[in-house]
Symmetry: C2
DNA sequence: GTAATAGTGTCTATAAGACAGTATCCG
DNA sequence: CGGATACTGTCTTATAGACACTATTAC
């Protein structure tokens, strides 16, 4: 009741046996674009609970490990990522019953990477592959384990939103890339068709977004100029996705 | 090494004594606008560590308590908030040494509320008051306890960004309010001056953002029309803050 | 009167949506 | 040839920034 009741609860925390056991994990929503579709890396669980169900990759946070470091370690373990991928914290999920075994608070991360050849089904899981998120949404495949449907949905929405005002779309591509390839990333992530001419004008009129290499690449028909990522990370004004009618 | 090494680590978690003790807390960045300044609610710590330092309000997450529920409970305890305040998860902070006593992972929340008369210095802390965030930034006052400077800075930036594309600014005001009062919220949060005429046009041209009551209020000089919050929560197009030069 | 504020109207620059049109290549 | 793609250019509309102007009130 006194002014340091707050402190007493902290002191209670100080005794390892005085507070309820909680595990802290990181879960990863790893997104990439494959064959024109936004895909998420999923792991098939080999044991209970949710045995046989697909789940986001993730794992325990080490005793003296930073949250970001744990996410980076898991990303490397699950994808064998060598190049630079984007990694950012997404949100935390801690419903008391989200894991039937014990109280688990999961700090979810969002990772964006260029098309990865091998899903690395070796290390930690029974199976691993990239699933188109559109298929998962349609209920065509069973729901994910735990609350991972929700986490993945939040991650996809974060990625969709960030394409509007950042240069993150370029992290889905290997350098160098063409303007049309960049446009197809936007189209895959947003699930819409964009006007090629207007998209091109918008991208090239944003200083420092992409840097022309001077090279060209033979595409399906014709030749397309090649670009690398520029220094600009924030888009002003934004490249807004088409709204579902006004 | 086998396909369920992942599972083994989960089973290890299942034994409460087999994983390192971690405490999960919620910390609140409670923002309000007082006297034209964006202010944050801070609590003066009455005990070690960081005794006497100002800190964000927060506390332990109950054994079977959801994260959001813990944040709502703490907000009610610390502010005595009766009316509707906005509350959303901000991010999680889990550097291994952020609390000298033990491993603590804090899930931070951002709360926005209308001007609150009494800081409620009674319940949990030695002292409590609203501090203008501009003063804290200038280093005019000592740094906050733990990593709360960082959390508060992240919360302020989140609030600033969300004013651009949501109707959240209205949660800083009691109804009914004038367009000028709403503008002063934007000016306080962003720390800039806005053009009154253009701001008015923008707000009134966004359908459903504010609803005229038909009443008027005597202001300093003259009469101003009164409005209440509308149903629109997302602003399209956004009300972008002035950028520090192009 | 002056100073400050609420509110209206207008001009201009910018940017986006729509679309015409050329050049190139594949089949 | 038709069809698809890379790329250029133009027209229209919507919006934001800047600013002129009136009305009202406090002092």
């Amino acid at each position: 009741m006194s002014a340091d009741a707050d402190e007493q609860s902290f002191l209670a925390d100080y005794d390892p046996r005085a507070f309820p056991p909680v595990a802290v994990t990181v879960d990863l929503a790893v997104l990439t674009v494959r064959d024109g579709q936004l895909c998420a890396l999923l792991i098939r669980r080999g044991a209970h609970p949710y045995r046989g169900r697909w789940a986001l990759p993730g794992g325990f946070v080490g005793a003296r490990e930073d949250l970001d470091a744990a996410a980076r370690r898991e990303l490397a373990e699950e994808t064998g990522l060598d190049g630079h991928a984007h990694l950012e914290q997404l949100a935390s999920y801690g419903a008391p019953d989200r894991d039937p075994r014990m109280r688990v608070v999961s700090v979810a991360y969002l990772a964006l990477a260029a098309n990865l050849p091998r899903p690395v089904a070796s290390t930690d899981a029974a199976d691993a592959r990239y699933w188109p998120v559109a298929d998962l949404r349609d209920g065509e495949h069973p729901a994910l384990a735990f609350d991972h449907d929700r986490i993945l949905a939040d991650g996809v929405e974060r990625a969709r939103a960030k394409l509007e005002y950042t240069s993150l779309a370029t992290t889905f591509l290997e350098e160098p890339f063409t303007i049309a390839e960049l446009r197809r990333v936007y189209e895959a992530v947003w699930g819409v068709e964009l006007h090629p001419a207007n998209f091109r004008r918008k991208v090239l009129s944003t200083p420092g977004l992409v840097v022309p290499t001077g090279e060209e690449r033979a595409t399906g028909r014709g030749w397309a100029e090649l670009y690398t990522r520029g220094a600009t990370t924030n888009l002003h004004p934004a490249l807004l996705r088409p709204r579902p009618a006004a």
